[in-house]
Symmetry: D2
Subunit: 351 residues, 4 copies
């Protein structure tokens, strides 16, 4: 029998991508969708590319076993609490349950969290680090797109204690990461043929990155600088991370043998860390975002600048799949006891 699931706010980019992925899931039925606009319309009228999903946008969530909330932060928390009340498992794709410390919501998101008791219960939905907790949870906070790329890139090096705590994360994102809400910065003629850095005063994904990375190596007092950039493409995030190798750590002597040997050693270490992970690929050449388009993959390339003893790690994801809907569906599979990769296989749409 098919498990019934729902999507709250299907009309944003994460919501519509969830619908696309769920529609091809053989054991799950997308049974109920809601929207903040367009209530009463067929999904295909509002989103023509989803015309073969035969559902109307409802004002209220129907009977489902699990629901994805694709509402914006601050709005999502109430919908999540209401669904939990009804005994429905929830995966929240907003930021509302990602931070453990309620005070951080005041600081970074400018609101008093109305359900702080749920924060400790919520599991951060990065399967590669929290697989078992996700599987047994009733509330998963789906990671932000930037944190996904940054944490997966840095986790092995941090966990193994290879790097100094001074870390720079320079991320380049496609414009869909800014969502479907209109703004001058995402107006085509303004964003096209243009690159910009933004949120230099501090991006909301920074506390999330710091929280999760700190958890991996609590002894290390992290100092993370994170600068996001907008690049003129629809999908994809490339994250370039920089950190000094710990003095003394020379990759088991390989650094002396040359960059090539050291790199191989570093890649081996990364591969060991991610052994068996279905969606992580530690690659032998610099990856490109296009190689992940439409997939749940995270490509990771650790390398070294031998002139400065600096570790450089490049990662690539599709911000709407591994950085959004795909990762949420991965958590859903775990929560429902289904094979983790179901509906998430398939290669990148390239070129």
């Amino acid at each position: 029998m098919m498990v019934k699931v729902g999507i709250i706010n299907v009309t944003g980019y994460v919501g519509m991508e969830l619908a696309r992925l769920l529609h091809q899931h053989p054991q799950v039925e997308l049974a109920s969708i809601t929207g903040r606009s367009a209530v009463g319309q067929r999904l295909g009228e509002v989103l023509p590319h989803l015309a073969d999903i035969d559902l109307a946008i409802e004002p209220e969530l129907g009977e489902v076993t699990l629901v994805f909330s694709a509402l914006p932060h601050k709005t999502s928390v109430e919908a999540v609490a209401a669904a939990l009340e009804r005994g429905i498992k929830v995966i929240d794709t907003s930021a509302d349950f990602r931070l453990k410390d309620a005070k951080e919501y005041q600081r970074w998101y400018d609101f008093t969290h109305p359900a702080p008791q749920l924060l400790s219960e919520a599991v951060y939905g990065l399967a590669e680090l929290n697989r078992h907790q996700i599987a047994s949870s009733r509330l998963v906070a789906n990671p932000g797109c930037y944190p996904t790329g940054a944490i997966l890139a840095l986790a092995p090096a941090l966990k193994e204690g290879l790097i100094e705590p001074d870390i720079i994360v320079d991320a380049k994102s496609g414009v869909s990461g800014a969502g479907r809400t209109l703004s001058l910065g995402t107006h085509f003629a303004e964003a096209n043929e243009n690159v910009s850095a933004y949120a230099l005063e501090g991006h909301r994904h920074l506390p999330e990155i710091t929280q999760e990375l700190s958890g991996l190596n609590p002894a290390l007092p992290l100092a993370v600088t994170f600068v996001p950039h907008l690049v003129p493409m629809s999908r994809g995030i490339l994250t370039t991370c920089y950190a000094k190798l710990k003095e003394g750590w020379d990759g088991k002597g390989e650094l002396e043998k040359g960059r090539g040997d050291f790199e191989k050693g570093m890649r081996e270490l990364y591969r060991e860390f991610y052994r068996g992970e279905p969606f992580i690929r530690v690659v032998d050449a610099p990856p490109q975002t296009k190689q992940t388009l439409g997939t749940n993959l995270c490509l990771i390339y650790p390398t070294i600048d031998p002139r400065t003893q600096r570790l450089i790690i490049v990662s690539c994801i599709d911000n709407l799949v591994k950085g959004g809907a795909g990762q949420a569906l991965q958590s859903m599979n775990l929560m429902l006891g289904l094979p983790e990769v179901t509906a998430l296989e398939g290669s990148a749409v390239y070129p």
Copy 2:
């Protein structure tokens, strides 16, 4: 048991897209791939986005039941003949078997066709028009990308005799349509932020369009003008077709009632023509290429310019799927007696 298939020249855009689609086919095994370069390398080394297809590029085609030739025209014909000799069914994605008249190869492709006897045997692989012939064929000529968009847009109106034979086909294609061979016109900085018309002296897809459209209504002496344009995107073709409505034909009186009624009537007629077709959608609003990205769909929107009694038909496809690898796989399903839609379902990767 899985049916074994192969791809000759996997490293071009159609070849790699075939590999992507075949890899997700539950009843078919991609068993052998060849390339004009990179022989001996693993597929994932050459095309990292296909790293989970565990095959090496071979110098010669192995044992398969059916093969796709993704070689360029003129080169393909020999590989096709050789495969047929071995008793292998063939789908040729080049132009080498699309034209029925061998003399046309001299005129349009500048070579003497070395196997003219196969031209009459080859079936033009447009399932919507030739489903049964494809199913029983051992040689299918996969349609060109432009002809696919143009023929599907015009077929109902021509077959039903609604339009005059003077037809204009103005097509706008993404740059992948020009293939993976390097050229100044497809160099990023030249093609980006640029639109151009090309092949105004006569594009090689014109005889193919004319041949197939003439077959639908042999009495009508067609005069087709076809102008292709290059637009700065990777995938997609939007085709705008123009033809005068036959005098006297007024959509069963609906034209007098107004554009809206006439349009509805015309859409009904198109829907009737394509009833049951899994990959054709006659749509109620102007379609966009992005709504087909990664899918085997053809969206068709017939409308009328009431000021000039002109029928305008807009169609959209993904040039590498319905206009290439997807359509070829659709023919393969028919030739192997498998459900036609297998491995071709799934919604567009949008945005």
Copy 3:
């Protein structure tokens, strides 16, 4: 002494492009700018790329000899009338004075024109056709971007009576043509990697095209079909025009000699028509929009489809320069008795 000019509504794309061009004009001083928003701010705060223009956005137009109104249609008419009252010459870049027949405003723009008496006085600002009237006018209606590309492409053939009156204009525009007002269709992730046809029910530039083309050959009962398309680039319009050659007209016998000779004859005829025009280039190879980027040029390529006796004319412009601000400045030069090309020279920014 410098002539003082102003811009009403400098913050839209045409307004800001006017400011850029005027700033490099040696005989004209941009003395006053107004905006619908941002009043009181320095121009460089609102539009950083114009930071070296040392002006504040004012609530009311200051003392100037000539003003450009870059307001949207319906809003512009009042500002224009007020400026004329003050004895200021006006170039209106909106549609409010382009149509001669006031009733057309009701039909196409859905409002009753409040100053119909000015319609007959306004000169359609296409210098190539109306140079002398522009020079002596106090009110110029700057042509729409699509009409500019279409009229310049078709004028010689129509004027010389070479073509049948059934004309198709298939235009491809960059997204800036839709203006700076936010909309889902011009949201980056929606417009990127996408082509679409729009306004199939009738675009507002159609009556303008028909009015001006009819004026060139009043005896010919024109039947123009115009379909605009949106392509993923910021600037540029490529227009492809199709019309049957008049029976009997064979390019002085050259058509029989072959396409090449006929084409040369046709190009000669076009060159004769535009002899001395500083911004028209009749070119020998299909033009590309990128070759006009940032310039006031219109590139025109007339050719023939010998299979169907159809004339095909391709034109390229930068929609914000020759299709907007540049053409307006060209008219200003004429109205002020300055050399027509001042501040409009310079080659395309390519690539």
Copy 4:
């Protein structure tokens, strides 16, 4: 009287941009152009956007006072030496005279420099740092595009001794930076909708960056990590630089007052450093590459991450103007005793 200048290898991106800029120079005449291909053709045949430059591509350089060599590295050195022999002043846009230490050419460019005696004579053509030496030089090495963005961003902080020597330069470049030579990585369908990091083993612009930055503060043992990225646009480089503030340096106490005050202090310091520079703008908000398109400007935005005491500096240039042809022309003006900004004024082509 006009000064005659020439361009060796006009057909690459820097060469053609030089021609565009020189054509609008009132005191200089572009008198001779050569190319590696297309000798004998008119410039407008080869590069249609330069059709109003009435010159043929010659096999040998004619009589000129100054020449730009736009040949690739390794090839340029001989042409430069030959021109100097003839008493012609030279601005070399290749890398062949940028490095002071001949051994570095072996290491980074894999050839033995054939004219090491000229290396000490050559002046690094960054007018903001070497204005007087350029003016009196007969050989200027035009800086690389990446070094221009990086050095201008870092110079004030380094010179004033505000930062630690550990520096990260993360640069994002448009694809024209890779030149006009065809390659798979710059093929449209591969580079479009894609971001990648490259040259992680060490980019050739690194020794140039290090050499010039070291010259600003010789006491500081620099450790620069430089990672270039390719983003899907034609023009523009955004450079993000990261360095720790020196302990003790708190912006004259302002850091304690808050990020805002500190930032203002830092911007003041940068403005002081660049006071009077015509092409440097220290800006109050994060700059965008599009704000420099077609101009010789460098926009610089220094800011602070107060959580980590890290200085972040973002700079934007047009890689073909300030990062190439424009900067070369700026040096030419200095060498010829002309006003430095001639032919380099004008605002960005935006959007």
